[in-house]
Amino acid sequence: MSTELEHAVETARSPFAEAFEMFRKNHLAVAGLILLIVIILAGLFGPYIYVADPFDMVWAPFSPPGEEGYLLGTDYLGRDLLAMLIHGARVSILIGLSAAFLTVFIGITVGALAGFYRGLTEEILMRITEFFQVLPTLLFSMVIVALFGASLPMITLAIGLVSWPSVARITRAEFLRIRELEYVTAARACGVSNAKLIFKVILPNALPPIIVQAALMVGSAILFEAGLSFLGLTDPNVVSWGQIIGSNREYILDASFTVTVPGLAIFVTVLAISLVGDGLNDALNPKLRQR
Amino acid sequence: MKPLLKVDNLRIELTTRDGVAPVIDDLSLQLNAGETLSFVGESGCGKSMTALALMGLLPEGVGRVASGQILFDGEDLTQASDARMREIRGNEISMIFQEPMTSLNPVYTIGEQIAEVLRRHQNLSRQAAWNKAIELLDAVRIPNPGARVSDYPHQMSGGQRQRVMIAIALACEPKILIADEPTTALDVTVQAQIFDLLRDLGRELGTATILITHDMGAVADMAERMIVMYAGRKAEAGPVEQIIEHPRHPYTKGLISCVPHLMATLTEERPELTEVPGIVPSLRDFGRDQCLFASRCDRADDKCKTSRPPEIEFENEQSSACWQAEQLR
């Protein structure tokens, strides 16, 4: 009996530690995570290892991969595709992460306030959420970028503004559910303040589905950015994957690799993020967790 | 008299993360036509699992009958085909569940749900099944059945829904009705109505009832014989009155005296309740060669912890699986 208790004490882990354990056992998710780390590292340190200016016209246009030492070939202006890809990774990941962060920040704030205070607050906040949800997302972000200029912060803002409603809805739903649970009532019986109730008691318990959503949000933000820059709505001073595809699209039949290589990069990154998101979902979803 | 249902040395194994565990371990029982038998015990003792085994509804891929027989009218249900079990289920053996809120389909009217069973098992026409559904609602004492038959489940109270479940279960006049904690989710005055209903209908139709419950009071009220289950094994069995009067197993004793009961006259005196310390062992420990109750029993000695007690039968049809059953007073 006492050894059993000792064992229990030793293995006493918070639900999040347990979720991490579950995640580790999910091979696909771990593979996705490793892939993602590789991509992030490439974006972070690649430019220092493979020193090359992505805007330099280094060789004849459309030279196929491998020729003259250019591993991925050159684009329509004769620029080194590998260098562009590495610099593009930076932009894609940066935009993906910061847009997801912005999304989650707005979403949690709105959702938590609506779900916790109910009543008029909820009514107003949810109408605002619905307003943003019914906006044609691409059109709206194009307008923002067209009006305020195509800088990275503006693109991030545009993506964040159109994607937060889903996070807000999830957060609100979780808050509505959790605020009725007895441990929240118990905390109220102890005189815990509203701010503490929201951030210390309810939010940590509401996080799992939000984390999953945030992970998937990174993927969709990368796709969104690719879409915008494909249409040319991007900062011309930085390279991004979507922009490479967009600028080379006229030559897709003659030099398909100039489009498929960055396309593959987007595909692999978003796939890796989805795998991680799926793994997080399984690990954090208590219904799947064994007792 | 030949029993309607005879279970012989039934062993049901459940595959878990920690290996295979016998959730039902060497269970034998008999049920005669028209009688009420009660399974009693805490949750996790195998009461519901036994019921699911009788219905052929063990969780697929996880649970299986490892050995033993379930003889229903002479037919071994453990060998029956899926098609045959579907025929039996709902027709000859039917079941009602604890949660009347979730056991009815919310998108169909209750009439449609009752008629569906009748059409499947008895090949009644649409109109005939509908008329029979109204009759059945009347039989389970739902007022104004002609109008209520087209109600949706959410339009009824918990007690009424459980009546509808009973109507569905009894639609084909089954020989056995298994009631798994049928009143746990209901108020006590509603419980009394449901019990009365079950008793009367059982008498009218000659249906044998298996009542699964944790409430000794309900057992005393409803059943003639009872089986006390503990950790997948039969702890004690016999006629209800005798067992309550003189339990021959410490677990039965604990179950009776750990609950404060309403007595004929209440007095100033309020003795401490008998505690059964600890909890039911985990599945991992099922199937060990020892008395599984030993860790919670104040009478346990070395023998209890090293070998499984056999079932000792007494003259008065009572039987107990306890090494000290004879001394227990």
Binding site: C190 | A192, V259, L262
Partner: protein, 335 residues
Amino acid sequence: MKEKTAKPLLKVENLTVRFPVKRGGLFSKKSYLYAVDDISFEIARGETLAIVGESGSGKSTAALAVARLVKAHSGSVLLGDDDFLSLQDEALRQARAQVQFIFQDPYASLNPRLRAEAVVREPLDSLGTGDPSERQASIDALFKAVGLRPEQQRLFPHQFSGGQRQRIGVARALATRPELIICDEPVSALDVAVQAQILNLLRKLQKDFDLTYLFISHDLGVVQHMCDSVAVMYMGKIVEHADRLSLFNNPLHPYTKALLSAVPSVDKKRRQETKRILIPGDPPDPLSPPNGCRFANRCPAAQEQCSQSQPPLRQIAAGHTVACHLVSDNGIAPI
């Protein structure tokens, strides 16, 4: 028994709780559901008052309102001289420390992300009772008092069984050294064999710490064991209120009688003596309660006057009040 102090610890007067209900369209008129309708009771220090009733009777809402966890529409909850319902800030914090709550579902009442010790510490921290440096010592003492081992403080709720979780819930309620503990169905979610452990613990703690309990339950067997007096609620109203022996041995209200007769018992004598009083049908729609007695439509003894006017609570004997037109003044029940 215990010596009764002249002044009750808790005095609830004309407590009413109502919830707004939207019916029909967005702009339809708001109507109210009176979950608790003008109830009054008091509890002497060191005693237990049980409120019994079936689902929808308003007993849990009443408990939550007394603890100020649900907003009361009107009425007062007097703790000593102060109205708990109108306190603010520091006074409220001190009063909260005096009134604690034990919840029904031990699986939902503990924050899954906190270790057991943090669960018990929460009221100490947020109500600021006791010296911070002594808090660990008092947590140790609380764990001991509810029968848990000191090592178990480091565990998370999911590592405990239902009974143990409820013990943690009890320790949390005891942490601020309250005088009144409101127990809302504290054992109904537990396995039968475990219920006794918690009930015995609650009785022992009541003696050790001189606690006063407001005990909410639907289980009359448990109520009989725990209480000193009982209030029976039906549709938001108290229909009968008496000390333990009078209520169980001499119930007067037809609803109380029906309720008691419906409880199955292992006692053969009781089964033979008790005539089952069946009350058919369901309670009326709480949104439009009848003008007369709310139990009239199910009452086997109902007469014309019952559906015309609401029976007031009348005192029949010392400490025994009942709200029924048909109970005679000298205490003869209609059925």
